[in-house]
């Protein structure tokens, strides 16, 4: 390079001399030790700027974020599974089962305003499924009671009835009732297509 510099204009040669003579900066005393420590996997000096991710981000925050994302996915899958496979023995709503069930038909032959008659087959299926001595024929007959009132769109004309009947059919399917399967699938398709009704519509 010196030979190349000699060919320059004298004024520019002075600039080169000035650049070369200019004092230079020096690293901190601990710099060398920091680098060698980092090679061996020991914690190196942390960046003072925003350029390097902090220890917290590299070791804690990023792992927690990954865990939170995984947990969210698992939770969403769990919720979706609940809709696909209702619990084996969902409790009968207490307001209807305890107070209204005995009043399906009154002593004078009339029915109260809040009859559970539309829901009777679904309650019956729940009860029969819970009883292990129930014959498959009895269960199949009860399932047919639900299936024959199912509309072409897979529902039963009422969001609540659709939910209860589909849930009952799911329980029957779970214990091996083949007659319930197609009605249950159509009920599920109906629920998927129309969504789960708002609580106010009950």
């Amino acid at each position: 390079m010196d030979k190349d510099i000699e060919m320059l204009d004298p004024a520019l040669r002075d600039v080169v001399a000035r650049l070369k003579a200019a004092p230079t900066a020096h690293v901190r005393e601990s710099f060398h030790a920091d680098v060698m420590a980092a090679l061996e996997g020991r914690p190196a000096r942390q960046s003072t700027g925003a350029y390097a991710p902090s220890w917290f981000y590299r070791n804690v925050a990023s792992r927690h974020a990954a865990f939170a994302i995984a947990a969210t996915i698992v939770a969403l899958l769990g919720v979706a599974t609940l809709f696909m496979f209702p619990a084996a023995n969902p409790p009968v709503p207490s307001d209807i089962a305890d107070s209204d069930a005995p009043a399906i038909e009154l002593a004078d032959g009339s029915r109260p305003a809040t009859s559970i008659a539309p829901y009777a087959p679904s309650y019956a299926v729940q009860s029969l499924v819970a009883d292990q001595s129930t014959s498959s024929e009895t269960l199949a007959r009860t399932v047919e009671e639900i299936a024959k009132t199912q509309n072409a769109d897979g529902g039963w004309g009422c969001p609540e009835l659709t939910l209860r009947n589909t849930a009952a059919l799911a329980m029957a399917v779970r214990v091996g009732d083949k007659t319930a399967k197609s009605a249950w699938k159509r009920g599920v398709r109906h629920l998927r297509a129309h969504g789960i009704p708002e609580i106010d519509s009950f």
């Binding site: 390079m1 190349d4 200019a22 900066a25 020096h26 690293v27 960046s47």
Partner: protein, 197 residues
Amino acid sequence: MGGKHLSWESRRVSDIADTELMLRAGTTNDESAFSVLVQRYSNVLLNFFLRKGVSFSDGEDLAQRTFLRLWRYRARYSPQAKFTTFLFMLANQEVIDFFRSAKRRKDMENGFETEQKVEADVVRQDRDGVDDEGIAVRRAVAGLSDSLRDVVELGIFQELPYAEIAEILGIPQGTVKSRMFNALRKLKEVLDNGQRH
């Protein structure tokens, strides 16, 4: 080499060439050989980054990252390449990554935070005994365009001949000459103006 091969232990560390140290680090994972390279090039790299316009603390961060990258890539080093060429190639990648950082680029454009750091550096440099001349030269070089700065960096500070600079940058030797001329003319203008103020 004179045909006589001296053992590693029998030679003074200062006599061992960079290439041999790097090969030793690459083939036998010898940290002591690598340690010598770190000692030799810490300040060289720091000043290389400072002349690119980064702050002192960022310059140290970048130097450290370059050494870590050098250690990671030690097995890729080939003795056909000059050690400094390999080192500055890695250093250049580090500084490119640095400037690609959106926040840093914004800081550079706004100049606010950078100026604060430069001022802090000035205080630090004064404390460390580096006078205004060093800072003035660094600022002047940092103010050059990338193409001119690369030629000055390799030609003046790394003292490489025009032919080698042309090879590294992949440009004709005549272009190196003209860029060097333009760069020095601009530097003279900037430094002279600074002296008058």
